[in-house]
Symmetry: D2
């Protein structure tokens, strides 16, 4: 299939269908409503189910129901809507159900605005819900990558029996780029007969499957949590994805940035190179698991004097960058949140100021 | 007033009244329902308002309404209930409204169990809601401290115009201890005339107050977020609270632990001392802001060979400990989650194993 | 107390307080929102409870809860809001709980309009809810009568352990008239210790009270319904109220009309009298029980050639008039619904046309 | 197609599909949950939509949405569930939308029981919602008739642009009888292009369709209500259905009974005939419009000395019987409500007692 020009939100929608997901429950919210607009006519074409829930709270439990029944299912929302799914997401983690959540972030907190941001980083990677739950979080930097990550998300969710979140800023959802849906990313739903409440008629084993997050016996609940922890550790071992940019040679500073923000940073890196200043960049493609080792090593390069976390948020990813750098280099944050994207010029200015300052201690 | 023997949940309830808070909205959930049981008869005695909301989602917005009208208001819940308040808490942060949330944590994720845990650490301190929002989080280790923190929470919430969370494990709520409500912790609600939507009749200034979290202009929203960030930085500068235990002299290992868990750790520290092994302990009393500097310095003591984060969760606070230690010492986690509290013997075992292992690199 | 000039909605609100009802739950809807506006400041003055529910469905069950606990409680709403309370009202009847509902009717069906109507007559008197349930329905024709009926409604509700409805058209709610609240209509709540779930501490009898509408045994449910039926029959025997106007002498036609509509009809009767045409009028003050006997007898007067039901609805009360007249005279309907009140001139015209037509058979 | 043995609830479900209705929204409630159980697998087979709403309130508005979009849609529920749809049904009437509601009645009021009853007669025929709204109400007496009425209901709903209700007692839903779905009752949805909000692409006329029940101008709302009234009058002229049984010759008493109850009455009539007592029976098949004229004439037969309304309710239809008989004969009620069906022996007893009593005046 040739590349077609699509809006990010539409590409996300189509990618889910190409990934074999025919169940979509959602509640509209700017800036991702185009996903629902697209799927409300597209899903019926492929005999899929489109259902607008009565609220995001309800949507989360519709997802729970469908996932528990063993079918591929996903939703899309934006920041406040994701908060409303918080309890449900924790239940999905607790019951070990695979599902895909797309969060096209807008500025917050509260109602905030409707323009792009990356201000849900901490929510997505740390505290999305109560209890020891974690999402596998992927952050696309282009429409093409958004489509591919959506296609990868379903088998990943099934591999780990855990929700996967695609964390995109509003720009990813709204901009148009050429996109294709690689055939090799199509996948068959994994055999869910071992655990899904899909009815005994359709499966060989006639044992009763039970989907639940309730474990009243403390020993059992502890064991369950140890198993979940082992799963999250396995994600850290097997699923880290990131991109290196201009890190082969020496560089004076290292930028860590993701999503659309990283594209602006790359422009800044190129412009700085022309001015004789080398800056390396690491772009996390997965936010959980976070590329701790890669960033730790890149920061430790002898030439590197400072690390900069550039975010469309007020200092969120910088905490993970600090953890990764382990005190080896000063770590600084730069960002904006509210809809304005920092420009290459601003980032160049920040890099220069950082390098000019006394870096002996952050 | 002499000390009286009270259950933690009751002490929390009474403390709120002593702090001058006469508005309580909540939805029952184990293991904190005694707060509601106590207040349903106690609040009418003092002409206060007790209201059971139709859900935790609703409760969060009842809190929003009352706080926006300028009155002291609080709620209590447990893990899943707090998740349901996630969106509302973000709105409170965005609209800069003071309110107090008490989370008597139970084991998760999902339904989990009804026994104590500390598994909402990351949620409370990092990702409670969408957007750049932060709570001031206090963690009591005794019924007395729970009462005092509740009394302190209201003026703190008003000082910062921000929600404050008391994060207690289920043990804090359920156990009985002697408690008093110090008169010096009583406080008057700060003058809210400058911003609360309380009607012009009752205030001198006749300008219109507007409570909102919506800022459609990106520049304005960015400025709003910069102001919020400055506020959170000010919390870090002014509100860090922690307790040192056995840190005056040399110690081979440093334990970081909070809440009821820290009491067990202190017993272990004392027992280890008898065996000739010195272990220091830092107990964060505030979880956000986190005592980064204190832990960083304590970990850097020459005699200290390892840092241990002991939690009733699966590795949550350990991330903040890692950030604080900045690579200076290996950081390890030990914990349980599900209702069983690790015993002193277990902790002693873990300390010994850690010290016996090769600590050159975690 | 001297008469004061009050809006009908305010008089209704104040009357409830004078009747000793300190619990009001409601959801705002035009044209009765002034009741809530008045009570939101007035009830706190008398230590009463004002609570805006999250919907009318919820309000009905808040009423259920309060009534079941043995306190006087009431709500006010308008047509669509009453429909939403339909299930709850049936539950109140089934559980035999006293409560007062005020319906300030607006034009329907559906959203309809916000101007006065009497279009909920059949709903109030026949089909308010599922199952064999009936309300005692009173229809005021002036602000003074509205106040008095509200004051009478509470002891009546308690006498029958059944909801009582005040059915007023929007005019009753909106117009201002001098009103007083007669001391002799004040009443003490009847002793509810025999059945209310108010806790054993406060009552002599230490038997357990159970409030319920569920009777799974068919014989028991039938007996329960026979008891309810006996109660409704007792209402018919003891509570019928109506007003005669110009019925002492002979009259050619009989008008049956209630509420504000009846006041216009009286003007028409007076104007017709000046033209030499005598018309009698019966104004039901209770709609259930309906003054069947009185109307039957008045219609049977030898001089009377026709009966006219004049309503601000499309032919609702006319069914009860037909039943009452028992075929003795032709019965006709005249009405409007939408907000326009039929004028005296229109009614005069209708009376003349009716008398001029061949009345041998309707 | 040959007759198949089906439960009433299943026959109702299948009949709707045969009638070309592929949209079903519902919330489960005994004793009609088999409809949903059947349709949840059957509708997907025919590419239909099965959707369980989050409540009956929601279901009513899902019906509104689908009906407004011009597709055939129906729901089924039982007594309390129908009450919750009360507001929505009024909106459907106001907006003149065709839809089919099946009420498989259980004993009430309130929770009542789960056994059969006919206790929603008044609700269905008089006061289902606020405002001047009426349903066309059909009452089947057998599984076959239930199936046929469902098939007829859709074109009738479209003919009048008004909801149609099938009012069945629980026995109709639960019992099994042979049933066939006559081909001649299949129908095409009428052309809804003139009013449905189905999008302009699919219709010739490019004028904008507006579905609404709001008419703020009183004159317009009155005209709208006059149009609705004319429609209901047209139903009375064109849609009355009833069955005569043993009414050709002379009879001493006339029974009016519908649904399953009428079958028991027929047995009683046959048994009485053997004892030399002739009793006529009229079974209304439509409850609104009610067979007033037929009953009036049958009651007026010279030999007839009394009329008996036999119901599984506490005196509901008897009001319509009284109106129909117009005082010509005494009218009595007999019934039970709670799940027990009156036996032929009981009815025989009642008939004899009635005939033996002084019938000069009821």
């Amino acid at each position: 299939m040739p590349k077609v020009l699509m809006k990010g939100n539409e590409a996300i929608a189509e990618a889910a269908i190409r990934a074999g997901c025919l169940n979509y429950f959602a509640y509209p919210i700017t800036p991702q409503s185009e996903v629902a607009e697209y799927l409300c006519w597209r899903l019926p074409e492929v005999n899929g189910v489109f259902l607008q829930g009565e609220s995001e709270v309800a949507v989360a439990y519709m997802i729970f129901g469908a996932a528990g029944a063993g079918v591929r299912v996903f939703t899309t929302s934006s920041s406040p809507g994701i908060s409303l799914m918080s309890e449900g997401i924790s239940y999905l983690c607790g019951a070990e159900l695979p599902a895909v959540f797309v969060n096209i972030m807008r500025g917050g907190p509260g109602l905030g605005g409707i323009l792009p941001s990356q201000a849900d980083y901490l929510q997505a990677t740390k505290g999305i819900g109560h209890g020891d739950c974690r999402l596998l979080v992927m952050a696309p930097a282009s429409v093409q990558e958004a489509a591919e990550m959506v296609m990868q998300a379903f088998p990943l969710a099934e591999k780990y029996r855990n929700p996967v979140m695609i964390l995109g800023d509003g720009l990813i959802g709204q901009m148009m780029e050429p996109v294709e849906f690689p055939d090799h990313l199509r996948s068959e739903p994994s055999n869910k007969d071992g655990w899904a409440s899909s009815g005994m008629d359709h499966r060989k084993s006639k044992t009763r499957n039970l989907v639940r997050s309730l474990f009243l016996d403390p020993e059992q609940l502890n064991r369950h949590n140890m198993d979940l922890r082992a799963k999250y550790e396995r994600m850290k071992a097997e699923e880290v994805q990131y991109e290196n940019f201009n890190t082969e040679g020496d560089y004076q500073a290292l930028i860590v940035s993701y999503g659309t923000m990283s594209r602006v940073c790359k422009t800044a890196v190129n412009m700085l190179k022309e001015q004789g200043i080398e800056v390396g960049l690491i772009r996390p493609r997965t936010l959980f698991p976070f590329p701790e080792a890669a960033i730790g090593e890149a920061a430790a390069k002898v030439s590197c004097r400072a690390v900069l976390s550039v975010e469309m948020s007020m200092g969120q990813m910088v905490e993970d960058v600090e953890r990764s750098v382990r005190g080896a280099r000063p770590v600084q944050w730069y960002g904006k949140c509210g809809g304005e994207v920092p420009t290459p010029e601003e980032i160049i200015e920040v890099v220069k100021t950082t390098l000019a300052s006394d870096l002996s201690r952050r």
